[in-house]
């Protein structure tokens, strides 16, 4: 149970706790840590085939290469040769190669440059097998990483067949590279007793610890993982960091020296998994007014070589296939396709965004079929307050604000007028066309694997000066969780912010943590810290009761004082007094999310504690001769509950939007038919740069308070704002539709690159002129 300091909530703008260090180059990332003498540097040799048997791995020249001290292969692994978190399937060094870029061996040398030169000298003889790169081919050949599933509500087939209107089509969504600015890195220092101290840029230190312990056949208490900060994660360091930490530890074990493994950007992109691309074949039946009667979707996802997190990701896609819409009759068949590409993995949105895009595209097409404004059709299908409020997985939506957000945004952004102006602009302009679209977001918060919704914390108060030290399982990766947890702790103890320090996250301080993921990091870890404080407060209350005969379980902690009924103490003096009277000023804390439960077998339950809501309206301009495009204006209204730090939440909303828009427009992952990735550097894979930001970018906050008992009654922002970027895609589609006078439904898959846009325009021209 979360017991908050109910006397005061905070809404306090503060710079990021590391802001001053970031701007002066004093924030240390792993590559910046002081290195013990004798530190070696690693590099990985990987497969240049996507599917092959290794006939011979000749490393003689590698060993001889300048500066090389040690080389490791699968033969050096004493325990489990796999870094799969939930399932096996991600070998550290495989015998049979399953994707282009799969690690085969690694070296430790006296410098990173020498190590990277050395790995190129391996002589590898492959027996090549045919790779499966296309997910549809994998589907046809029934190659899956996990068993698929079918979810159903009502009688979709009957509803579809009887509906007044019918439509079927397919839709494809592209993959996405995380492109965290700090590449994958690990730094391992051997300790006494064969213990290892591991610095890893990871979102999941506990799993790193477990995987390395299993790899070495050692106890978990011999492995200590520490993370101070991560230079961007976005899901790309939830499981994808493991293999680097594991290989680095192997090199350290074999060479008996500290080893740092910093992966080159191209190698990083080639080796690690990306966002799942999805393909949907769908049928939809709907009324003349646009209300959806029944939907049937066949949903394929590219999972790469192994299950990794694909089960949970596809599950979240299914849980968000409704987005904000009430779908009374629904059938989804979901297939997890196995391809010879790196194992697709977590990425902000975690499948939810893919599910949402599919229904958004269906709704958009329904509106275009009916020649109506898609904003109306979206609205008419929304979940309602008192009826039509049960999701297809049986959860009652109790906190619905989407109708309010949507209407408010349509009004404040002058959507209707602007839309008319755009239609007029388009009829007056032959080559440049404008488009506009509004899309809603409803995103469920909690890990859908229920047991992961727990967190621990460790809080110390030092009697000498009353300063506070906090450790949790939270990973600071830019989302500001350390700042927010420090603010929460300061508020709970009634202290100024600068008396609280949140320190690096370590498996020897807080054990058994969940990944910093699912947007839940501050919700869980902040609550655990508050729980620890509550225990210390109980110690103090007991002490005060004994010593001063004052009975008050609800003492007020404020402005450096502690107010018991009948007596006010200064914080520092009571702390000191408690210490002298041998009262513990330190406690661990724990939190587990209440209310949630989910039966994955029957796909029913309440997987989420609450929902985050938001909506975005985007206006774009496209060039119909080239497919180039530009986002002219974006208006966002987003619900973050009572934010601990509104500036941090705003940063998440803006950044999430741009990342989501990037996914759906310029970011394109391309594999050759032999499985080789062609987009593995900033010169071939383009993430949004400054001129991709909308020309006008209005971000407003929907005033709300979380109904559920979440820290500060806030709502997280992490993932949900990414989905606001969907509006850009549909605005582009709207602009394309204008080429056919809105009479032909554009065929447009994501990402909407200039090429995709031009070809979609061609399709319209062909069909319109008929």
């Amino acid at each position: 149970m979360l017991k908050m300091n109910s006397n005061s909530f905070i809404e306090q703008i503060r710079p990021h706790e590391s802001g001053k260090k970031h701007v002066s180059g004093h924030a240390n990332y792993i590559d910046d840590l002081a290195e013990p003498e004798g530190t070696l540097y690693g590099a990985i040799g990987y497969s240049k085939k996507a599917h092959a048997i290794i006939k011979k791995l000749d490393l003689k020249e590698v060993w001889k290469s300048q500066g090389v001290i040690s080389v490791v292969t699968h033969k050096d692994i004493p325990g489990r040769n796999d870094v799969g978190a939930v399932y096996d399937g991600d070998p550290i060094f495989p015998k049979k190669v399953e994707y282009f870029g799969q690690p085969l061996f690694a070296v430790a040398a006296t410098s990173t440059e020498l190590a990277r030169k050395a790995v190129l000298k391996a002589k590898i003889i492959y027996k090549t097998l045919k790779p499966i790169i296309d997910m549809k081919e994998a589907f046809r050949k029934k190659l899956f990483v996990l068993k698929g599933r079918k979810i159903k509500r009502g009688n979709p087939l009957e509803k579809i067949s009887k509906a007044a209107n019918y439509f079927n089509d397919s839709f494809t969504l592209g993959s996405q590279e995380h492109f965290y600015l700090e590449g994958q890195i690990a730094f391992v220092i051997p300790q006494e007793d064969n213990d290892f101290k591991i610095y890893s840029s990871t979102q999941h230190p506990s799993e790193t610890q477990q995987i390395i312990a299993k790899m070495l056949n050692q106890k978990n208490n011999t492995i200590n993982v520490e993370v101070r900060r991560v230079g961007g994660g976005f899901g790309g360091k939830e499981t994808q960091s493991f293999i680097f930490a594991a290989i680095c530890t192997l090199l350290s074990k074999k060479s008996k020296r500290p080893v740092k493994l910093r992966v080159d950007r191209d190698d990083d992109i080639i080796i690690t998994g990306k966002r799942h691309d999805f393909h949907a074949d769908y049928e939809v039946g709907f009324k003349d007014n646009g209300i959806i009667e029944g939907v049937k979707i066949k949903l394929l996802s590219r999972c790469g070589i192994s299950p990794d997190l694909s089960g949970a990701i596809n599950s979240r896609a299914l849980l968000h296939i409704d987005n904000a819409y009430y779908l009374s009759d629904l059938l989804v068949e979901n297939y997890l396709c196995k391809t010879n590409t790196s194992s697709s993995t977590a990425f902000r949105g975690f499948g939810g965004n893919q599910g949402m895009m599919i229904i958004e595209n269906i709704i958009d097409n329904v509106a275009r079929y009916l020649k109506k404004d898609s904003a109306e059709i979206r609205k008419i299908n929304f979940y309602q307050k008192n009826k039509k409020n049960i999701t297809h997985y049986g959860m009652k939506i109790e906190d619905n604000v989407i109708n309010k957000i949507y209407s408010k945004l349509i009004k404040s952004s002058n959507y209707k007028n602007r839309r008319l102006k755009i239609i007029k602009f388009n009829s007056n302009n032959k080559y440049l066309k404008k488009g506009i679209a509004i899309t809603p977001v409803k995103f469920g918060i909690s890990f859908t694997t229920t047991h992961l919704n727990q967190a621990g914390a460790l809080v110390h108060i030092y009697y000498a000066d009353g300063s506070v030290h906090v450790s949790t399982g939270a990973i600071e990766m830019g989302q500001g969780t350390y700042t927010k947890i420090a603010q929460l702790v300061a508020n709970e103890l009634g202290l100024s912010y600068n008396k609280v320090k949140v320190s690096s996250t370590r498996t020897d301080k807080v054990p058994n943590t969940s990944a910093s993921a699912a947007s839940s990091t501050t919700d869980l870890n902040g609550a655990a810290a508050i729980n620890a404080i509550d225990k210390i407060k109980q110690n103090l209350a007991l002490f005060v009761k004994k010593k001063y005969k004052l009975r008050d379980d609800k003492a007020i902690y404020k402005n450096g004082t502690i107010k018991f009924k009948g007596k006010v103490f200064s914080f520092n003096s009571l702390i000191k007094e408690a210490y002298l009277n041998r009262v513990s000023l330190s406690s661990s804390g724990f939190y587990s999310t209440p209310k949630i439960h989910f039966n994955n077998k029957i796909f029913k339950g309440r997987p989420f504690l609450y929902f985050c809501y938001g909506a975005a309206i985007s206006e774009v301009l496209i060039d119909t001769l080239t497919g180039e495009n530009k986002t002219l204006r974006v208006d966002i209204l987003h619900d973050h509950g009572r934010a601990i730090n509104p500036a941090i939440e705003k940063g998440q909303i803006e950044g999430g939007f741009v990342q989501g828009a990037g996914w759906l427009t310029i970011e394109e992952i391309i594999w050759k038919t032999n499985g080789e990735l062609t987009t593995h550097s900033p010169s071939t894979y383009k993430i949004p740069a400054v001129n991709d930001m909308p020309e006008k970018f209005n971000v407003k906050i929907f005033k709300n308070i979380n109904k559920e008992n979440v820290v500060n009654k806030s709502k997280t922002t992490g993932e949900p704002p990414l989905m606001l970027g969907m509006s850009v895609f549909f605005a582009i589609k709207d602009a394309i539709a204008s080429v056919g006078n809105y009479k032909v439904i554009p065929k447009l898959n994501a990402p909407a690159t200039p090429e995709a846009i031009l070809f979609s325009i061609n399709h319209i021209r062909k069909n319109y002129e008929k």
């Binding site: 701007v23 590559d31 600015l181 310029i666 550097s681 071939t684």
Partner: protein, 478 residues
């Protein structure tokens, strides 16, 4: 005078390095030798800006501050310059106005890209007196941030308009200029293990070195050459650095042409050319980031002969010539015909590009277009350039060239031929569009498919004529 000691100014002291490894990047030097880890490696190819440092260069009696990518610049290129890294901006415990603004406007989230942004904004702060949105965006278009979406960074930069222009670099300017004067360029000649490096100061010296070391690679901006070290993991055993030759850093207006010296940074050319060919300047702005344009040259773009070198189709239709020299001879060649095959040119061993001549156009209309997935700092899928003279609706002269359509940047001769002396009609334009299929057989790669390339090439031709007919620009940024 020739020396093996590279000298530069760091923290207002002269640093001397004898025979440094000429393949060591400034980034690695800063991180491993200076032991300052604020400067980050994000990509090691000049594509993300996390490694941005600022170089101070003496210019008359002032200092010109240039943001550069330290990941693709080698240590000896510091010779005669001032090195400024992110840690140096704090003065007596006080943060620089740029740093304060980035903190106060929440410009950092994960923080890894932040030092690079700070340095790009610092260079902007030093080089401009006011910071309009356009200048801000140009200054940071070479810095990638995956967290913020850029808005708070732009807000931070805008807030600098209210800040004092006086900082420590300003206060110490005289001292720095004195020091820079003391270490004014000498010829640099380095031998480090099996690697040689030369940074001649004069053309004459360059000619001698090239004669003695005909297998050397010439390097200016190094966006291509440096990647041999950072990506291909090979050594560059003999390098000749062009950018110390100040006699080649010039733009001259002659009677019939503009002459651009081989070591002239693109950014200088872009500012100059805008009043003659505004599209040329627009293309260069999208050619690369400020960090790239600060050190790269047109000569480098020509010599690497990349099929997607963005200045090349433009120079081709402008009928540019290149002045080529070796020890004894000077040759003037038309750029058209200079490219032989993929990344191969007519440049022979011992020769170097001295300068580029761009004729003035009298009645011609010049236009250029660049198509890429991203607006900023992206490689073209297609770059098109056109030059035309029309008289009474009749095409009197026409030159068309494309990048990204072939293994070399190339004129569209068959297309030109059918248009020459024909009337400006839709029918003729359609015919010309069709003929592009005879001129080019583009490929499919990460940037675009062959189908798209061909179609967009045709459409750009159409767009060019549309813009002429309608006498207005049909562009997203018009």
């Amino acid at each position: 005078m020739t020396s093996s000691i590279v000298k530069f100014i760091y923290k207002n002291k002269i640093v001397e390095i004898n025979n440094p490894d000429p393949n060591e990047t400034i980034l690695n030097y800063v991180r491993t030798k200076l032991k300052k880890t604020g400067t980050k490696e994000g990509c090691a190819e000049g594509g993300c800006g996390a490694c941005t440092v600022v170089i101070g260069e003496l210019k008359k009696n002032s200092i010109n501050y240039k943001a550069i990518n330290s990941c693709i610049a080698f240590v000896p290129s510091l010779e005669g310059k001032q090195l400024i890294i992110v840690e140096d901006l704090i003065s007596k415990g006080e943060q620089h106005p740029v740093q304060k603004a980035m903190v106060n406007y929440h410009g950092s989230q994960c923080g890894f890209c932040t030092p690079g942004f700070v340095m790009s904004l610092f260079a902007m702060y030093k080089n401009y007196s006011s910071y309009k949105e356009e200048i801000i965006k140009d200054s940071i278009q070479g810095n990638l941030c995956r967290c913020t979406g850029y808005k708070p960074i732009i807000d931070a930069a805008k807030s600098l308009n209210k800040e004092s222009k006086v900082d420590d670099f300003n206060r110490n300017k005289k001292i720095t200029i004195n020091l820079l004067n003391k270490i004014k360029h000498r010829n640099i000649s380095i031998i480090s293990g099996n690697k040689k490096y030369f940074a001649p100061k004069t053309v004459r010296e360059l000619q001698n070195i090239l004669k003695q070391n005909p297998n050397s690679k010439l390097i200016s901006g190094g966006t291509d050459v440096s990647l041999i070290v950072t990506k291909e993991r090979k050594d560059l055993n003999s390098l000749i650095y062009m950018n110390s030759i100040s006699e080649l850093n010039y733009i001259k207006k002659k009677n019939n042409f503009i002459e651009v010296g081989a070591s002239t940074p693109l950014i200088n050319f872009e500012n100059f050319i805008t009043k003659y060919f505004s599209d040329f300047s627009k293309i260069i702005k999208r050619y690369g980031s400020v960090q790239i344009r600060n050190i790269c040259t047109i000569a480098g773009n020509i010599a690497t002969a990349s099929p997607i070198g963005d200045t090349l189709p433009l120079l081709l239709v402008l009928n540019s010539q290149i002045v080529i020299k070796d020890k004894n001879k000077t040759e003037i060649l038309p750029l058209n015909g200079f490219f032989i095959s993929y990344r191969k040119t007519k440049l022979k061993k011992g020769q170097f590009i001295h300068s580029i001549r761009i004729p003035f156009l009298k009645k011609d209309i010049f236009k250029a277009y660049k198509i890429s997935k991203r607006i900023d700092d992206d490689i073209s899928s297609v770059c098109a350039s056109f030059c035309i003279e029309i008289n009474n609706n009749k095409i009197k002269k026409i030159r068309i060239a494309y990048g990204g359509m072939s293994s070399i940047p190339k004129r569209a001769f068959k297309c030109e031929k059918i248009l020459l002396n024909s009337f400006l009609s839709n029918q003729n334009i359609d015919k010309a569009k069709k003929l592009l299929e005879k001129d080019f057989k583009p490929i499919t790669d990460a940037r675009a498919s062959n189908k798209y390339r061909m179609e967009v090439a045709k459409n750009l031709l159409e767009k060019f004529f549309l813009e002429i007919k309608q006498n207005k620009l049909i562009r997203l940024n018009a």
